[in-house]
């Protein structure tokens, strides 16, 4: 603190002479230490009391404790799993991992969609087009005024209102929509596809390097060497040649309607669709307001100055306004992302097997409520801290560099 203050009485040699600490209540240093000891003592005592009380009660009520149940065969069925799962073989530990993955899946997709939709609505609500900006303002007001749980139940009811599986609508060849969700054809994955993908990724890295080099040369000489021939070669030609070299396998795994379900193909469940729609609509309204406030926070002189230089409005927005607005946008946006992660736990209301739903079932079947809740808290804390860390890093990176 004292380094930033300009009051000479506090920082210069003209201040009161430093004394050693007195063991007296009149000494602020001594008081501060005593207060800290008292506060740490209160916090520590409370924690100790809670832990001791819980342990004593558990023992008294003869309730089994510990995490051994994680190694036991789960037996609980789970509707959607990103990794293989068989309740008769796999353990509660694996069911727990599936819960984490399902939560992460919804969070990641949700955050991406919220960012895009929120940015679009936020920018569009500042548009000069009266109709567009009114529409966006109305969207924001309606979406954020409806409680999220209501959103979810509403969209789930909408999904349930779709035709049943036996009467699924085929919107595109192989794409079936029913109240079970969406079934899509999947590419029958062959080694050729893996190698072609690998070549594509290598190509991306190469193009990235080439672009940096081009920028460096442009900065030094003013001439920008062409990158696009390399891009075409590395991103399209090489992967295509590799794919052809393997015999050009291309076979779509089409979903085939059985008596109770589609066999083959990939699926997105109705529960996940309803959850994503609800989460994205609700949180994008907040994101839109954050983006709008960020853009409005950039003084209009910036627009005018850029306009005077002859730049187009989209260019001004992209190159001048948004980079400055981001500094205002990022911190509250972090809160919105955290909201998406945590609110995905409302999935339990509409039957999407997220972390909370699975751990709830686990603690019900095993009776290990405290352990279960601790697991849920631990996972959400980790996810939230990870999002915060990333966003803080990003915020620091785009922060205005003061010279």
């Amino acid at each position: 603190m004292s380094s930033t203050t300009s009051d000479p009485r506090l920082s210069s040699s003209r201040g009161a002479p430093r004394k050693g600490m007195q063991l007296s209540w009149a000494d602020p240093k001594f008081r501060a230490i005593i207060w800290q000891i008292v506060i740490v003592g209160i916090i520590g005592g409370t924690i100790w009391y809670l832990v001791a009380n819980t342990t004593a009660n558990l023992a008294q009520r003869r309730i089994a404790t510990g995490f051994e149940f994680m190694g036991r065969t789960a037996g609980i069925p789970i509707g959607e799993h990103l990794i293989a799962y068989d309740p008769s073989i796999n353990t509660y530990g694996r069911a727990f991992v599936i819960g984490i993955l399902n939560t992460l899946q919804v969070t990641v997709i949700g955050v991406v969609l919220v960012t895009f939709l929120g940015t679009f609505v936020g920018i569009a609500s500042l548009s000069g087009n009266w109709l567009l900006s009114r529409l966006c303002r109305t969207y924001v007001e309606i979406m954020r005024d409806i409680p999220l749980l209501l959103h979810l139940l509403f969209w789930y009811t909408m999904v349930l209102g779709l035709p049943i599986l036996r009467e699924a609508i085929e919107v595109l060849p192989g794409v079936h929509i029913s109240n079970n969700g969406v079934k899509v054809p999947l590419l029958d994955w062959q080694p050729a596809h893996s190698w072609a993908s690998l070549a594509f990724i290598v190509g991306l890295v190469l193009v990235g390097i080439a672009r940096r080099r081009a920028t460096r040369i442009q900065n030094a000489t003013g001439d920008r060497p062409k990158v696009w021939p390399l891009a075409i070669a590395a991103l399209i030609l090489v992967p295509a040649i590799i794919w052809l070299g393997f015999g050009a396998p291309f076979h779509m795994d089409m979903p085939v309607k059985g008596r109770f379900r589609f066999e083959g193909g990939g699926a997105v469940s109705g529960e996940m669709i309803a959850l994503l729609i609800g989460l994205v609509l609700y949180h994008s309204a907040y994101a839109a307001e954050i983006v709008r406030s960020g853009i409005t926070s950039v003084v209009s002189g910036q627009w005018e100055a850029a306009g005077a230089l002859g730049l187009h409005r989209p260019t001004v927005l992209r190159k001048i306004v948004l980079p400055q607005a981001l500094r205002v946008i990022i911190p509250p946006m972090t809160s919105t992302y955290l909201g998406v992660a945590k609110n995905s736990s409302l999935a339990v209301a509409i039957g999407y097997p997220d972390l909370v739903a699975i751990v709830n079932t686990m603690l019900n079947q095993t009776g290990q409520a405290i352990e279960g809740i601790a697991l849920i808290m631990g996972v959400y804390l980790t996810i939230s801290l990870a999002i915060s860390l990333f966003m803080n890093w990003y915020n620091a990176r785009i922060a205005l560099v003061e010279r």
């Binding site: 069925p77 509707g79 349930l160 109240n179 079970n180 739903a357 709830n360 019900n364 009776g367």
Partner: protein, 339 residues
């Protein structure tokens, strides 16, 4: 000398009196008496078991089983508070002492008795997991359900029973697990699930609730598990366990002897030894349990015998008594002798 003797007698009386007061030896019973009402954990959403009627009065087999216990301990079946619990929070409610006991159509299993610090005191309904399907599906047996989507409430023993059944028959299924019962039933009705699985009593109740549309739903004949439903109490309070268990037995014994709510006062004049013990006329059965000797009389007078409870709560839903008949009538309901 006489005075001293009288004083000693008074002191002795006082000692025995306090001994008699403390005789219940049960923290739970003492708490119930002190509170003046029984806290009973029920579902509150389950037809046949516990569902409030249009007057807000809790109706059902579980509700009446709890009332009998309130009558046995406190002498008044109305001194009761029903606390609705979900399948997810019921055990926590019991463990934490929020409820004195659970009558929440809860299945008696080893893991629950071993891990939860609780034990089962009675089985007021012998049930089994069944499947309800739409008649339009034209499914005749659960064995035809390979690949089906099944609506199940999470955290129930049904969930495990269904997983076991499909595993044994080498069939696949997709579960849809929704905690809220009405949302779950909605998912079934809208066709999101091909079948809805829970205890067959629950399915019968649900089908009945559909009114004229009940014929659109078929209860499959397969009963895939044993689901003995009953009262759950905390471990470590044996006296309370006894009173919960024997109140249930008392309603069975009353049915066995044909004692009903209507004729229970005539039974007070009976000469049959077991009836006299049941009515508290001899044998000090109530005292042995730590309650008033009129405990069973009160319970039957105010809530009726087991069969009456069944006729009042279950029969209207079209559920046959089946294995829930008394043992001498081909069923499983059997009470040890009261002596």
């Amino acid at each position: 000398m006489n005075r001293l003797f009288a004083g000693a007698l008074a002191a002795g009386a006082l000692l025995t009196a306090t001994a008699a007061l403390a005789q219940t030896g049960s923290a739970t019973i003492d708490a119930i008496v002190k509170r003046g009402e029984l806290n009973c954990g029920v579902a509150g959403t389950s037809p046949m078991f516990s569902l409030p009627d249009s007057q807000g009065v809790m109706r059902g087999l579980d509700a009446d089983s709890c009332r009998a216990i309130a009558a046995a301990i406190l002498g008044d079946a109305k001194k009761i508070k029903f606390i609705p619990t979900t399948t997810q929070n019921r055990f926590t409610a019991l463990q934490s002492g929020e409820v004195d006991l659970l009558y929440r159509s809860t299945t008696w299993t080893l893991a629950r008795e071993g891990n939860l610090g609780a034990m089962f005191a009675s089985v007021n309904f012998y049930d089994g997991t069944g499947f309800l399907v739409k008649a339009s599906l034209k499914v005749k047996s659960a064995k035809e359900l390979d690949g089906a989507t099944v609506c199940v409430a999470p955290g129930t023993s049904t969930e495990l029973a269904v997983a076991d059944y499909f595993r044994v028959h080498k069939m696949k299924f997709t579960p849809v697990l929704i905690q809220d019962l009405s949302e779950l039933q909605n998912a079934y009705l809208s066709g999101r699930c091909d079948t809805y699985s829970t205890d067959s009593s629950g399915l019968a109740g649900f089908r009945f609730q559909q009114g004229p549309k009940a014929v659109e739903h078929v209860l499959l004949p397969d009963i895939i598990s044993k689901e003995p439903l009953g009262a759950m109490v905390r471990k470590g309070d044996d006296k309370f366990f006894d009173i919960v268990r024997w109140t249930y037995f008392a309603t069975l014994i009353a049915e066995e002897h044909g004692i009903t709510q209507a004729n229970v006062d005539e039974a007070l004049k009976s000469t049959v030894p077991e009836i006299r013990r049941l009515m508290g006329l001899e044998g000090d059965m109530g005292k042995a349990l730590g309650v008033d000797n009129k405990w069973a009389y009160n319970a039957i007078k105010q809530t009726g015998n087991f069969g009456e409870g069944w006729d009042r709560n279950v029969t209207p839903y079209g559920m046959p008594r089946g294995i829930n008949n008394l043992w001498n009538n081909g069923g499983l309901q059997y009470a040890p002798p009261m002596r």
